[in-house]
Structure formats: C-alpha cells, structure tokens
Symmetry: C3
Subunit: 430 residues, 3 copies
C-alpha cells in the first residue's frame, strides 16, 4: 500500500521534471527568434511598426483567453469535477504549448536547422492546445493527470502531422480550424473515451448534472467564447481584408446561431423550458462552423445561414444523438464535444468546400491571392480547391479516429494505475 502511494507521489513530479528538461534542451538546440522578434535579422531601415506583433498580438490574447479560461476552465467546470479538471487542464495546456511549438516547427520546416518563432507560432501553439482541451472535454473524469500528459504528447504530434498534411501538402484553407482544431479534437477525444469506456461511470452520472453556481460560471465561459470567437477565426488569416472579413463573418454567424439555439432548445423540450446545456454549447456552434469559410467571401448573409444551421444541428445532437452514442456505441461524451465541435466542425468543412467552388474567383478581386494563393497563381481552379478541402475533411477524420484508437491502447497496461490515480484526483475536490 505504502509502496503504491510513494509511487503516486513521485510519478507526477518526475514526469513533469523530465518532460520540462527535455523541452528546455530541445528549445535550446532548435528554437530561435524569428525576423520580427530579433532586430539582427532585419534591415536597419525597417519601420518598428512593420511588425507582426502589432497586427496579431491583440488577437493572440483573445485566443489565449478562449483556450485557458474558456476551454480549459469554464467549459469543464460545468461538470463538477471542479479543481481536479481545472488543475490538470492547466498543467497539460502549459505542456502542450511548448510541445506544439516544437512539433509544428519541425513539420513546417527548419531554416538552417532552426525553428523561428514569433507571435504567429504562439497562436498556432495555442490552437493546438485548444484541440487537446476539446479532446479532454470528451474524456473528463476518466483519466489521471499523468495519462492526460501522455495523451497530450501523442495528440499534439498527430495534430501537427494532420495540420501539416492539410495546410502544407494539400493547400487547404482552414484558418479558423473547423477541421484541424475542432473536428480533429472532437473525434480524437470521442475515440479515446470509447476505448476507456467504464460501465460503472454511469452510476455516478449525477456528478455530470450542473448546479446553480456552476451554471453561472459556465455561462460566463460561454459568453467569453462567444465574444472572442471572431478573434479566434481571424487570428492567423492573412493581414488586411481577409482578417477583417473573417471576424465579421464569425460575428454574424454566432448571432444567428444564438437565435436558432434558443428556438430549438425551447422546441425540443416537452415543457418549453430552455435547457442551459444547449445554450452554453450550441450557441457557440456558429463559431466552429465559420472556421473554414470565414476568410472566404461567405458574406454576412451566408454566415448567418451557416450559423443558423449549426445551432439547430448542435441542439438536435444534444437531445437525440448523444444518448444514442452513449447507449449504443458506448461513447461517453462528458462535455458533449461531439455537438459543439464534432458536427459543427464537419459542417464548417463542408461549407468551406462549397464556398470555395460556389463563389467565382472574380469576386475576390486582387485579394484572391491571400485567400486562395494556388488559384491566384493559376496552379489549380476553384473546383480543384474545393476537392482538396473535401479530401482534407476525410484525412482529418481518419487521423482523429485511428489516432484516438491507437493512443490509449498504448496506455492500456497502466489500467490499474489509472483507477487509483483517478480516485486520488477526486480527493482534490474535498
């Protein structure tokens, strides 16, 4: 007995120390400042304000708030796992930021053996961390902090490979991450929660029900995500009008989505009462669904249609699909990420493919190059672009599902440990 708890006591510290020391060494060997971060690398007559920092940092901070407060804290707080979830999320997120910087850097190509980083790579690392936290929303309550760390190591790696295939090889556009972040994170998490299926979890299901204060907290989280989603989708679009347009498309998509969410929530209830879980989640589906096409000439009109549909799909998912997934497929989706990130992510991918081909390239004027560089250069036409967008969805789903099946399999040997540590982690709530 004493042996096990000594084990407990040492395993997490040792893992954190070793991982961080490895990260520090890798950063020492491979990472350097990019052009905008080091005066040495740019010409002396350069204007101080011609620096990506000034055009991306405010969006970075909004994204940072969404990832750490929104996904990491408030969306999971709802579930009453309280501090154990918050505390572990924070740890794993801090790890993922660093690991993602390396993985994304390696895959996007070294320059003279170095990864050059700046505000854009910080945003990308935050995005990857967001995807990991989405997956955690599916497995919440089943994993120890150590398992979460191991899961994050693999998920960040797979995320980066998938992202590289989409953006680097297929020339896909997905600035707001409908595919790379939301679809990937959701289906990866759903597969892991399927593998870690624990029948007895049903018995403690009352823990999933929310209480008043939790609900108010969660609602703050929802509104924060809702407010900053325009920044999220536009954070790494090209400068100028695409960034402006993406923010606006997302804004109107979310507004329309909120209307349809309330309507559907009242409609599917047998007594007309609104369900807070719907509002806390489905009202955000419009942001997810505008993730791919947001930078395109979707127009506010198109964005509102997309948001309107996303809200409907998401509420229907909570009401009818989630129970089926749990009962028939044994997928216990703790936070309902399939309804907020999974299906709306797929919708977003489809909207992106359709928009790519449906809007004539002339509509972009001289801005075409920034949205579809391969079309502007004449390398491909819009229908080919649309095809690649569709292929990318399939690739993402494959990576997420296969990855989500394999990764926890690797950890299966530690099963007993898991059970003990989970109990342990619950103690933090006392």
């Amino acid at each position: 007995m004493k042996d096990t708890s000594t084990n407990m006591r040492l395993k997490l510290p040792v893992a954190c120390f070793i991982l961080e020391i490895i990260l520090i060494i890798l950063f020492g060997v491979f990472v350097e400042y990019d052009r905008d971060t080091s005066a040495k690398l740019h010409k002396s007559d350069r204007n101080d304000y011609d620096n990506d920092f000034y055009y991306r940092y405010p969006s970075f901070q909004d994204v940072h708030v969404m990832i750490f407060i929104g996904f990491g804290f408030l969306m999971t707080f709802l579930q009453r796992y309280g501090f154990s979830s918050v505390g572990f999320n924070f740890l794993v997120a801090a790890f993922s930021l660093q690991w993602a910087t390396l993985m994304q850097g390696f895959l996007h190509g070294l320059h003279d053996g170095k990864i050059a980083i700046g505000v854009e790579s910080m945003i990308n690392a935050d995005f990857c961390t967001g995807s990991v936290l989405i997956s955690f929303g599916a497995v919440l309550g089943k994993t120890s902090p150590l398992q979460l760390l191991i899961m994050a190591i693999f998920e960040v790696t797979l995320f980066s490979v998938n992202e590289y295939i989409l953006l680097g090889l297929l020339g896909t556009r997905d600035a707001g991450g409908s595919m790379t972040i939301h679809t990937f994170g959701a289906y990866f998490g759903l597969m892991v929660t399927r593998i870690l299926y624990r029948p007895n979890l049903n018995k403690s299901k009352h823990k999933n029900s929310s209480v008043y204060h939790s609900d108010m907290f969660a609602m703050i989280g929802t509104i924060y995500l809702w407010m900053f989603w325009p920044s999220f989708n536009s954070a790494i679009t090209e400068h100028g009008d695409p960034q402006h347009r993406t923010a606006m498309n997302t804004y109107y998509s979310l507004a329309a989505c909120t209307m349809s969410t309330y309507a559907m929530s009242a409609l599917v209830a047998h007594d007309g009462k609104l369900d807070m879980v719907h509002i806390q989640n489905a009202a955000l589906a419009g942001g997810v669904a505008a993730g791919t096409a947001g930078e395109m000439m979707l127009t506010p009109f198109g964005s509102m249609i997309v948001g309107f549909l996303a809200g409907i799909i998401s509420v229907l998912g909570f009401k009818y699909l989630s129970p089926i997934l749990e009962e028939k497929l044994k997928i216990q989706d703790t936070c309902g990420v399939h309804n907020l990130h999974g299906m709306p992510g797929i919708l977003g991918a489809i909207v992106g493919a359709v928009t790519a081909v449906a809007i004539p390239k002339e509509v972009y004027g001289n801005g075409l190059e920034k949205v579809f560089p391969d079309v502007a250069s004449g390398e491909r036409d819009t229908s080919y672009q649309a095809g690649m967008q569709a292929v990318s969805l399939a690739v993402t789903l494959s990576f997420a599902i296969i990855g989500g099946v394999i990764v926890p399999g690797e950890e299966h040997h530690h099963q007993e440990l898991t059970a003990v540590r989970t109990e342990e982690s619950d103690k933090l709530n006392d």
Copy 2:
C-alpha cells in the same frame, strides 16, 4: 390549460425562427462588405495595414465584453433573477446586433442600395445593443422573453432614428453615447417600467436584495465595466489624437468618480458603512458623464471634475431619488439605471455642450476638423455647436420618453400572457 402551455412552447421558437429568417433575407438583399473588408473595393497598391480593423478591433472587443459580460450578465445577475435574466438578455442581445446593423445602415444611407458593413458598424451595433440592455435593467423581472424581443425591435428602431437625427442631421458630437446610448436607454426603460407597473412586485422585493456571491459577481462586472470604459468612449472617435484623448479623459474621470462615490456612500449611511450597490454602480457614472465631451479638449483636470460630480449625483440618486420615483411616480427601476445611466447621461450631455463653447477652437490646432468638422469648415461657430448639443439632449429625452410610453402600450393586449410567461421564466431558476 394544456392549450396555453402548448402556446408557450411554440411561441418563442416560432418568433425566433421567423425573426431570424427575416433578418437573413434582409441581410441577403441589403448588406455587403465595406471597402476595408473586401479587397475588390480598394486599389491593389493599398497597404494591408491601412485597414480600420487594426485601429478599431481591439476597442471593439473591449466594448463587446462590456455589453455582453458587463451589462448583459453581471449587472443584472445582482438582482437574483439569475439565469432567466442572463439567458433572455443573451438572446435579445444576439437579435439586437443584427437588427441594429440593418436599422443603422438604412438610416445612415444606402450606397447603390446596399449597406456597407465593417468593424465600425459592428461597434455601432454593439452600442445600440448596450442601450437596449440598459432599458432591460429598468424592467427586469416584469417581462417575458417574447416581450423583450418585441421591445428590442421597437427600441433598436427608435434608437437608430434618434441617433441619426443627432449625428446625421444636427451635427452633434456624442462618440461615447452619453445621450444616444445612456440617456436614451435609461429613460426609455424607465417609461416602460412605469407602464408595466405591478403593485404586487413590491411584495417580492426581497428578491432584489443581493447575496454574498451575487455581490462578488456583480463587483467583477463593475470592475470590468470600469476598466474598459475608456475603450467604450473612444471606440468610434476619429483616429489619432481624439481616440487617444478620449481614452485618457475617461480613465481619469472614472478614477475621480470612484473617490467621490466612496466618500458619498459612507457619508449618506447612518452608520458609515459603505453600500455595495453604490460602489457597484456610482463608481461607473464617471464613464457615462465623459461620453460626450471625452473627445473634446476637456483635459484630465476637467474630466476629473466631471467624474467627481457624477459620483456624487449617482449616490444621491440611489439614496434619495430612487425611493421617490418608486413611491410617488410608480417607477420601479430594478437596477437603478436612472442613477447610473440617466442622470449621469444628462450630466454628460450638458458637459459636452459647455465644453464645446467654453474651449476656444484654437486649442484644437489642426485637430479641430476631427472633433468639430462643421466648426472647422466655418459652417457654424462653437456656440452654435453648443446649442445643437443642448437641442440633442432634448430630442433624445423626447424620443426616449414618448417611445417608452407608446411601445409597451402596443403590447398591452398581451398582458395576461405576460403574467403567465413571467412565472414560467422564473422556473428556470429552480
């Protein structure tokens, strides 16, 4: 009985669906991207950073947080109506954003039959939504979500007409909305709550008293509003020094206001204890009162005097005027919007008129054009400008008061329905 509840169950969804479909159609017909949002509409040699997005978006996000978290969530949470208020506010705010985009667009003039939108129109839509939420602060606890939606349809329309008369026809300056947002929203709401007067509401008055956790939440709301008010007032001023100046004037006005609020709150109490309601509200009055003159050469000195007075007026209002309004005039001002938005808004309008004439136009140097374009062009002198500012206050009060009397009258036929739905909405708290 069953009939009524079926009615309930369908009325909100149907209203939401129909309204949203109408909005989508109108957006499809009338709305297009503005110059900064579509590369097609500007020359190819344009710098990407010469885009309003980069100079307004950070302020937009601050305003967005104030409207949705500050006004929409935390100021009303205080009242213990809890989720029903939060949930309905969120719905109506999402609707108002879209409706305001259209109304403000129509009134500010179509170009080739189109409304061109961008980050500035998004800020203006948020401002209009803020005004609606201020009115809700007065009627909180008396209305069903459906009534709130109907009220929002009318209020957004009247707001836009009033704003157009002030800014478009009279050449009034009111960047931070002392008149257009705060005075209008407060007196409109006060009139509606007068019309909807329910004597029995007094009996459940204990619901208005705050509890510890609510108070801490509300205090967060206060501090958020306090912090971002400089962004609010400067969000749509002209670029450059007026924007810089407005933020600074507001900052010092709020600091001085906080000092006088604490002083007055301790002074008017019979035991020297500070009253949290005063601090949560009156400490913000300095932001409201700097809304009109903030962009003018008010100087930090002048701003501090204005804030100092605003705090005093606001605390006196809570202590002595609100009870009179309720007892003599039957105006039940649930959140005390008259003290935070009404009187400080009028003070702000007066300060604006006085500042316009008191500061010689030479003080503005070559910046005069951005603050008083009509004075710079020689079309009017400063005293004429001051006169227009004063006339604008009268116009705003007339619109608010007459509008607030007429609108709920239209809804009076639904009185019985109201009673039922309000009860219903309270159930959400269980």
Copy 3:
C-alpha cells in the same frame, strides 16, 4: 461611544474628498496632454496612426485587467476577507492611479512646468498601483481603509523615487518591473506587516484558509494573470522587436514555471496531493522572474530555465520559508507575496544583470540601441551595465525595507483607531 462612531462616519468621506480635491487642483496646474494626445502639438502632415495609442493601448488594457481584476480582486478574494478587501483595494487603486501620475511626472521632469501624459504614463501609473496592491497582499486584514490610503500616499511616492533613481539615474533596464514593481512592493509590504504585527491575528487564522468557491475564483484570477503577463512585461518596452521578444520570453517562462510548480507541489506534499495555493501563486513566478531580462536576448531557452527555477523557488518558499518568517521574524505575509513577488523579483533582477553581461552586444544587431542605449552609444560596456543592474537591486531593497519600516511608524499614533476601524471594516462581510 457615539463620538467615536461619528468620527468613523466622517473620517473616510472627508479624507476622500480632500485628497481628490487636492488631486484635481494639482492636475489643473501641472498636467497637460502629450504630443500624441493633442493635435496641436504635432505637425499637420503627421499620420494618424503614428500614435503611441495604437501600439500600447491593447497592452494597457491587459495590464489594467491584471491590476484591477487580478491583483486587486481575485488574488485577495482568496483570503475570505471578501468585500472589505475588494472594496478598499478598489478605492485605493483609483487614488493611486492619480497620485502616481503626478509623482512619476514630477520625477521624470516637467516640460515648461507641465507633466505631459498619454497612454504610456497611464501604463506607468497602473504599474505603480500594482506595486501598492502587492504590498496590500502582505498586510491584508490588519488595516483600515484610511490607513491604506495613507500607506498608498507614501508608497506611491517612494516607488516613484526608487523608479526614478533606477531608470533615470542609473540607466537600469527593468521594463517588466522585477525590481521596481515586484521586489519593491513585496518587501515594502513585508516590512509594514512586521511593524503592524498582531499576535492575536494567529487565532483567527482559519479565515485565511480558502473555501471551494473562493478557490475557483482565485484560480480564475491566477489564469488571468498568467495569460496577460506577456502584455505586462512588454507594455512599456521600446516599439518593435523588443516588445515582440518580451511577450514571447514571458510566455515560455510561464509555461515552464507551471510545469515545475506542479512537480514541486506534488513533491513537497506528504500525500502527493497538489496544493492549490502553490498553483495559484507559484505558477505565476515565471512572469515576475522574466520582468527584467524579458526584453533582452534571453531567448525562449533561457526564459524557460528562468521560469523553471522561479516555480521551484516559489513553492519552496510557501512550504518552508513562510512559516519561518511568521514564527521567527513575526512577518505575517497574508497572501504569500514574498513567494510570488519577493524572491522571484530578486531572481528576475539577478537574471537581468547576468543576461546583460552574458549576451554579447553583437547579438542585438542594430536593435542594441533600444535595449541598452548607453551601451549602444559607447557610454558604458555590458559589464558596467550589469553592475548597474545589480546595484539597482540593492537600492530597491533598501528603499522598500527602510520605507516599509518608517511609514507605518508615522501612523503608530492612530493605533487605537486602527483596531476599531478594522472591526468596522469586517462588518462589511456580514
């Protein structure tokens, strides 16, 4: 008896009114808009966007949130002094902003007898206020609001003198304030709490233990501070790459610090359970420790080492040093500011000195001038710069410790009053 309470009732209002009126008069005499805030002071062909506002205001807002929500509200909420602490912090912070504007302005030199203010002076005033709130974290629970106001008057003055000696006379670099803000604020507060030592405070120590909801609130505070610390450290660095670099160095320092904090917290616990107080505080030490060297060529690699060490030191401080300070030295450090601001601040100062000499000046290329202007001009070499950095730490510690001993001594005559008022202030919690 009645006499005393009348005294109570009048003392705070009178103090607030008199202080604010003095502030207003001083602002009227000495303060004017700076070049970027008044079009009159710059040439007419100047670009509107060549305005500090656009390059500092987003950071200012992040700093503002950290000071008022993070330090002022959430870090102290933890201690269950609840509203009395929050309310008084807010008051004193609003006062300090204004007083700091004057003190810093006087010391940095008047131009034609005037203090010119703009967004940078607002950030500096916020920084000074942050230092005051850090000190409050040490004395929390022992002081009346009036005492806090008096303490703020002296602390702001000493802060400004120390800052002027460091930045103005010694040519020290300390953009993120490891020395000027954190070390100064912490040791000043620790000295004051030593002087105000109350043996009976131990008995009510249970008040210091946190409860569930307080912990969740405090954790929000922690994450907010953690997210915005990159903005804090980079807010007043030179434009361009130094600002970009500082934000990034801080980001990675915090990520590494979080990893070592979790590891150490689990390691020092006898049962392997994480201690929330460690996580709420020590995870932020990486931001403090990157305050001086953040703008230098510390590299992400170096930043991560610094953050890693800061987390370890901070947890060890909470676990082993704080109890010793309380028992042996009678320093009751209510919020543990020695562990979050004191030791990590000293670490940051040392890292700054070492980095200044360890990184060859050639590494900065043509950016040297912005980081070490005296080295770039040939006035001093890097080892002299490093020496000045080290001297600055000694100066700061002397000012903080001597100031912290003298200031409350001045107030000792009011001791009896203190006891009464503190009781009074506790009533606010009921």
